[in-house]
């Protein structure tokens, strides 16, 4: 059983849930149709009664209600009170060489036509990427595994949940997360992150963000289904010439065993603030324990050896 890394068909079963537990659910966030409206952020906060925070709550400079200057992103990143975060990336990219409008027409520059006289390089164009980030609900969740209190658990839906009545704010989960998702809430002391609306799941409802999303950029459902849908969408985009489209977090062979919340991106992950090749830290835990045991034995041996020989 790949309990610490690698593909794992049923993380809930691995966490003790009996057969017949609900299927693993997740998010497929298709950023190619995201319009950056942030309905997900607001719907999430309204449902989960999260406080407004702004960037101050997660470490960056800036006051609570201040413009970050990061395009239209004023929440900065995921945090203890921001379970959904929409990234905005403004890019100058080479102009799409084939017209997106398939006109099948020859070059339209007429002889002697006025050339666009703007000084900016017309071989490039602006691209504005938007992507709604969220907890990945990893197959192998480092936050869960390092939690010393059992506050973080795998649920029957295969998601990762912080149990607010258990968390003692040790903060271990925070640096354990390879995506920088979970964080400690100022003034509260406990760690918080996306619950995938555990309470709504129990009532047969979709999470608040996916419910609100106007363009179906955020899709919720059984993970198997989402993966199929994502594969089809990727193929469709590739057929349309959107070669830069790629799936992120979909692969069960990746460093975290695949994400419960995965993405279709239009650029490298780090452009959106995502790690390009995350690995769950506990993959190396057996080796860590071995090294630690070796080192502890060395200590024991050295101390014992220090007493060898006569006294002076």
């Amino acid at each position: 059983m790949n309990s610490l890394s690698g593909p794992l068909a049923d993380p809930s079963a691995d966490a003790g849930y009996a057969d017949g537990h609900p299927p693993r659910v997740g998010f497929f966030t298709d950023t190619s149709v995201c319009i950056g409206c942030k309905a997900c952020e607001v719907a999430c906060k309204e449902w989960n009664a999260l406080p407004a925070d702004g960037v101050g709550d997660h470490g960056a400079a800036g006051d609570v209600l201040g413009l970050t200057g990061m395009s239209y992103d004023n929440s900065g990143g995921l945090g203890a009170s921001t379970y959904r975060h929409v990234a905005f990336v403004e890019q100058r990219v080479p102009a799409r060489d084939s017209a997106p409008v398939d006109l099948g027409m020859p070059a339209m520059e007429l002889p002697g036509a006025v050339q666009p006289g703007v000084d900016r390089d017309d071989a490039t164009e602006v691209r504005w990427l938007m992507s709604s980030d969220v907890c990945k609900h990893c197959t192998h969740a480092a936050c869960l595994d390092v939690c010393p209190t059992g506050s973080l658990i795998r649920t029957e839906h295969g998601t990762v949940l912080v149990q607010e009545d258990i968390c003692n704010g040790c903060g271990y989960c925070i640096p354990a997360c390879p995506y920088g998702v979970i964080d400690q809430r100022q003034g509260d002391g406990r760690a918080f992150k996306c619950t995938m609306c555990q309470d709504r799941l129990g009532a047969g409802l979709a999470p608040a963000c996916a419910t609100a999303c106007p363009t179906e950029s955020i899709q919720f459902g059984p993970l198997d289904e989402l993966r199929e849908r994502a594969d089809a969408r990727l193929a469709e985009l590739h057929d349309r010439g959107v070669g830069e489209a790629r799936l992120y977090g979909r692969d069960p062979d990746d460093g975290v065993g695949g994400d419960g919340a995965f993405f279709l991106l239009l650029d490298e992950p780090e452009v959106y603030g995502l790690p390009p090749d995350p690995v769950v830290t506990t993959r190396d835990l057996p080796s860590m324990w071995r090294h630690a045991a070796g080192a502890a034995l060395a200590v024991a041996g050295a101390v014992a050896a220090a007493f060898l020989g006569g006294r002076r």
């Binding site: 968390c167 040790c170 354990a176 964080d183 400690q184 452009v271 090294h291 014992a304």
Partner: protein, 336 residues
């Protein structure tokens, strides 16, 4: 990119290019580092200073002091026994104190014993620290009150047996994170911590009256182990090593290294100086080793924090790994 004075929203997702020194991997395109407005990818730990560095240091001190004391007891070195027992108990108690103080919800400290998770170094550590604290505490109380020496011996031996584990689980604790400078060093950090713990525990023993030879040996051996392990660490963890060499962490670790070397030499020398001057020199060296040990933990802590705050530490190695894997999958010459 526009000129810096008119930085734009579009310009801020920064791309930094760095020359690569490794000519042997030419098929890997020059590494390009991109981030989202320079923001960290992983969240820096919320652990506070001095709480957590002190917790790491004190755990080491206690973890070595306990077996020192136990063996000193068995070998009839009452001075070393006394100092060791007090250091073990004091270290453990203060260590727990710092840990509780660092919690967001200190009143829920006991939740640490709600589960026993081998996947959580902090859980394992709590299950080590709890009995260790109780045993070393009881031993120290007996020592100070001068009662129940037999029970104290038994509890001291038990604490001594747990001690070595106490010195190294903290290394796993920091290494079992996504913090690049820590995680990348997961093989070496236990030895760094072990060495550092021995240097501090042995150093503490040098404060004792009577024969402190075992303590001196432990201290010097610890210093050597720490220095060696640190050196290996910095050579083996690639880009993340920069975190140990630069900034505040670099400065602190350099100071710690000097302290360790000087302390070790002092400890060695004290063995050759008789009487009070020897004891004073030994004590001074012991204190210096402890300071250096604390500084080592703080430096490592800071190196981790720095590597967490700068997304380059996360992105660059991952990107290189990815590119190398892609190059493997699609050797040069193929289309993709």
């Amino acid at each position: 990119m526009s000129a810096p004075e008119h930085r734009t929203a579009a310009g801020t997702p920064r791309t930094r290019r760095r020359g690569k020194g490794r000519g042997e991997r030419l098929m890997v395109p020059e590494a390009e580092f991109t981030s989202y407005y320079g923001r960290p990818i992983i969240k820096p730990p919320v652990w506070k200073v001095p709480d957590v560095p002190a917790y790491l240091y004190l755990g080491g001190l206690a973890g070595v002091s306990a077996p020192l004391a136990a063996l000193a007891d068995l070998t009839g070195r009452p001075g070393l026994r006394r100092v060791g027992r007090v250091a073990a108990a004091g270290g453990a108690t203060l260590s727990v104190g710092f840990l509780v103080h660092d919690l967001g919800r200190p009143e829920r400290f006991l939740h640490m014993l709600r589960v026993l998770k081998v996947t959580s170094p902090l859980s394992v550590g709590s299950w080590i620290l709890a009995p260790f604290g109780a045993l070393s505490g009881a031993t120290a109380v007996a020592e100070v009150l001068g009662v129940t020496p037999r029970l104290a011996r038994a509890s001291g031996l038990a604490a001594g047996a747990l001690g070595p584990a106490l010195t190294t689980y903290t290394a796993v604790l920091v290494a079992d994170t996504a913090v690049p400078a820590w995680h990348e060093g997961f093989r070496e950090l236990p030895f760094v911590f072990a060495g550092s713990a021995m240097a501090s525990g042995g150093g503490a023993g040098l404060l004792a009256r009577g024969d402190v030879t075992p303590a001196r040996r432990v201290a010097v051996a610890g210093a050597v182990l720490e220095l060696a392990a640190t050196s290996v660490l910095e050579r083996r963890i690639g880009f993340a090593a920069k975190a140990y060499r630069s900034g505040r962490a670099g400065a602190v670790l350099t100071g710690a290294r000097v302290g360790t070397v000087v302390g070790a030499l002092g400890a060695l020398a004290s063995g050759f100086v008789r009487g009070r001057p020897g004891r004073v020199l030994g004590a001074a060296a012991g204190l210096l080793l402890n300071a250096a040990s604390a500084a080592t933990r703080y430096g490592i802590f800071e190196a981790g924090m720095a590597s967490a705050r700068d997304p380059e530490y996360t992105v660059r190695p991952q990107r290189e790994r990815l590119e190398a894997r892609r190059a493997e999958d699609h050797p040069a010459g193929s289309d993709r």
